[in-house]
């Protein structure tokens, strides 16, 4: 019974994007500064939870039509296949590869396979957190 939540909804529209950008920043900063897949995933989930607080579960499902169980499975597969790629080079499991690249916008950047593993962690954290919140929220 929310009769007058214009303020909440308007603020949410602005704040959600700021949180999401911050989550992406934290995710990419993880290699050299504090951050990484886990906090990045939690921040993203918190942005979605804010949307759920301001609107309701059905609307958020329409905005973000994602099956979070699948998202968890995809994250697991990404993390596993990143680590397992080393098997094909006959080096110990989890051996990570890295190199420096000259990217057009970023300049000289080091790219690590560890970031892909972190992407898997990120997706699993988002998937699991949202599955928990959604199932509890939908429970009558």
């Amino acid at each position: 019974m929310r009769t007058n939540d214009v303020m909440l909804k308007t603020a949410t529209k602005v704040v959600t994007f700021i949180i999401l950008m911050f989550a992406v920043h934290i995710f990419f900063a993880g290699h050299y500064t504090p951050g990484g897949g886990f906090v990045g995933g939690l921040l993203t989930a918190s942005a979605i939870v804010l949307l759920m607080l301001a609107y309701d579960i059905e609307t958020v499902k329409k905005i973000i039509p994602v099956n979070y169980v699948m998202l968890t499975a995809i994250g697991l597969l990404i993390a596993l296949s990143t680590a397992a790629a080393s098997i094909f080079f006959n080096v110990p499991f989890f051996t990570h590869a890295y190199d420096y690249f000259d990217l057009p916008l970023f300049g000289k950047t080091s790219l690590h396979s560890a970031a892909l593993f972190d992407l898997g962690v990120y997706l699993v954290v988002v998937g699991v957190t949202m599955t928990i919140i959604q199932t509890i929220g939908e429970d009558e």
Partner: protein
């Protein structure tokens, strides 16, 4: 292929992740989970050949050198246990298909079974004490899900107790690892085995050793810490119970074996005597339970506790016969417990109850089931040609060679009680006047019966062909008795 020893962990993990995508497609779930277990089994067999030919296999994850990275070590003991765990999981998957029910199959049952296998295989393979904790949590999380899966009232009640006990023991595990780390400064098991003998204050190390005994004792259900097990294992359906009874406590037993042979050897007079006494008390407590109940599931559940005591008594002797006997008995016990739970599950389905007093006369309608059960019961008690005999013989011999000869007498005497408890099921369920039974479709009967018969057949082969398997057990025992083999393989000195 330096990563071969990781395949028994990675294959079920990969397939479990894939199974999450289509929970409602039951036929695909069944086929893929069975295929995953078969693929895992094949990889374990290759690994067994490799370890047999080339000795202990070790790989340190991420190409970091040994004490700094996480080492995964596959010696003969861990390969044998991974092999038994994989065989049991394969048959549990087959046994689940007719018994577990459509609703459970639709809600991520098979992924949970495979995740449990990931945790068990990982715990058997890891060479890092904190990684052992992580794999314990992996298998415990999967077991939390399996124990409550279906949401019946007793399951909900018992899962709360089970969760509470395991959360507390896991917290103790972390505390014990923290103490060990603050004393030694390392977490790698081989490095611990090098560092611990160099430390002169053995007092604090003895305390840590006892703490680890308490932690793993919670998981393995040893004497004062087994109170959670009978209730918790009675709640879930039979295939889950077979999986738990065959694998979960054995992981705790394995962890005790590993820590008490590899690094806590500085004060054997205290720690191992304590282990021996606790083992004997565990056997006695289990016997009392196994004779007290008229419930087929409860009787076999208390037999798990007895077997844990017998194995740990063999380990506590720290001589060749005792340790080899314990390893043989460990492998035998995993297989026979799964087989017994399968058979008892069929009996319970046929009568529609697990109460012995309401059973009778099954020999007239299901004679083959009766004879197979009798063979399994004799195997459990250790009648000579069957698989329980060689292990128990060596354990008793080890006890007589060691300081605790009176323990061997208890082991021998309680074998009779084990036989009595198992035969009581046979007498009540198969002899006597036939009672009304629930008609069972021939097809689903055979779907349940065939995995059970094959498992009993494997145990018979294990017992009759004990000479064939002894070289493997010898190899496993050799590594436990000479930790230097393990240390050299990991630290590559």
């Amino acid at each position: 292929m330096i990563n071969l020893l990781l395949f028994p962990i990675l294959i079920p993990l990969l397939f479990a992740a894939i199974l999450l995508f289509f929970p409602k497609n039951i036929s695909l779930q069944r086929i893929i989970s069975a295929a995953a277990a078969v693929a895992t089994l094949i990889s374990v067999l290759f690994l067994l050949l490799k370890v047999k030919a080339d000795g202990v296999q070790a790989v340190t994850l991420g190409s970091w050198d040994a004490p700094f990275g996480i080492t995964m070590v596959s010696d003969m003991l861990s390969v044998l246990l991974v092999l038994s765990a994989t065989i049991i999981t394969l048959f549990v998957i087959f046994y689940s298909m007719p018994t577990i029910g459509i609703d459970r199959e639709k809600s991520f049952y098979y992924p949970a079974v495979l995740f449990l296998l990931v945790g068990v295989n990982g715990a058997f393979t890891t060479g890092d004490i904190f990684n052992l904790f992580v794999f314990f949590e992996v298998l415990l999380m999967a077991s939390y899900m399996l124990i409550v899966h279906g949401g019946e009232k007793p399951q909900l009640r018992e899962s709360i107790k089970y969760l509470l006990v395991n959360v507390i023991s896991s917290a103790l595990f972390v505390a014990a690892v923290a103490f060990l780390y603050s004393v030694t400064g390392t977490l790698n098991m081989a490095d611990l085995a090098v560092k611990i003998p160099q430390i002169e204050e053995t007092g604090i190390l003895t305390v840590i050793a006892v703490m680890f005994l308490v932690v793993f004792g919670f998981k393995a259900a040893i004497f004062p810490l087994y109170f959670w097990l009978p209730g918790a294992y009675h709640a879930p359906p039979i295939p889950v119970l077979a999986l738990f009874g065959a694998l979960l406590t054995k992981v705790g037993v394995y962890a005790i074996i590993r820590t008490y042979t590899l690094f806590f050897t500085m004060n054997i007079a205290f720690t191992h005597e304590l282990l021996g006494i606790i083992a004997i008390l565990t056997i006695l407590a289990g016997c009392i339970g196994a004779l007290a109940y008229f419930d087929v599931k409860k009787i076999i559940i208390y037999n798990i506790i007895i077997a844990v005591g017998v194995i740990l008594f063999g380990i506590a002797q720290m001589n060749e016969a005792g340790i080899e006997g314990a390893l043989f008995y460990l492998v035998h016990d995993m297989l026979i417990k799964a087989a017994l739970f399968f058979l008892v599950g069929i009996v319970a389905v046929i009568f529609g109850t697990s109460n012995l007093r309401e059973m009778g006369g099954l020999m007239k309608t299901y004679p083959v089931l009766g004879w197979v059960y009798l063979i399994a019961a004799f195997g459990l008690a250790g009648i000579p040609p069957l698989s329980g005999f060689p292990g128990k013989l060596l354990i008793v011999q080890g006890g007589f060679e060691g300081p605790q000869f009176w323990g061997s007498i208890v082991v021998l005497a309680t074998s009779l009680l084990v036989l009595l408890s198992a035969i009581r099921i046979f007498i009540y369920a198969f002899w006597g006047e036939p009672v009304k039974i629930v008609p069972l479709k021939k097809r689903s009967y055979y779907q349940m019966f065939v995995p059970a018969v094959i498992l009993v057949g494997i145990t018979v082969i294990l017992g009759v062909g004990a000479e064939l398997f002894m070289p493997l057990i010898n190899g496993a025992g050799e590594v436990l008795l000479n930790p230097s083999i393990y240390i050299d393989a990991v630290l590559k000195e």
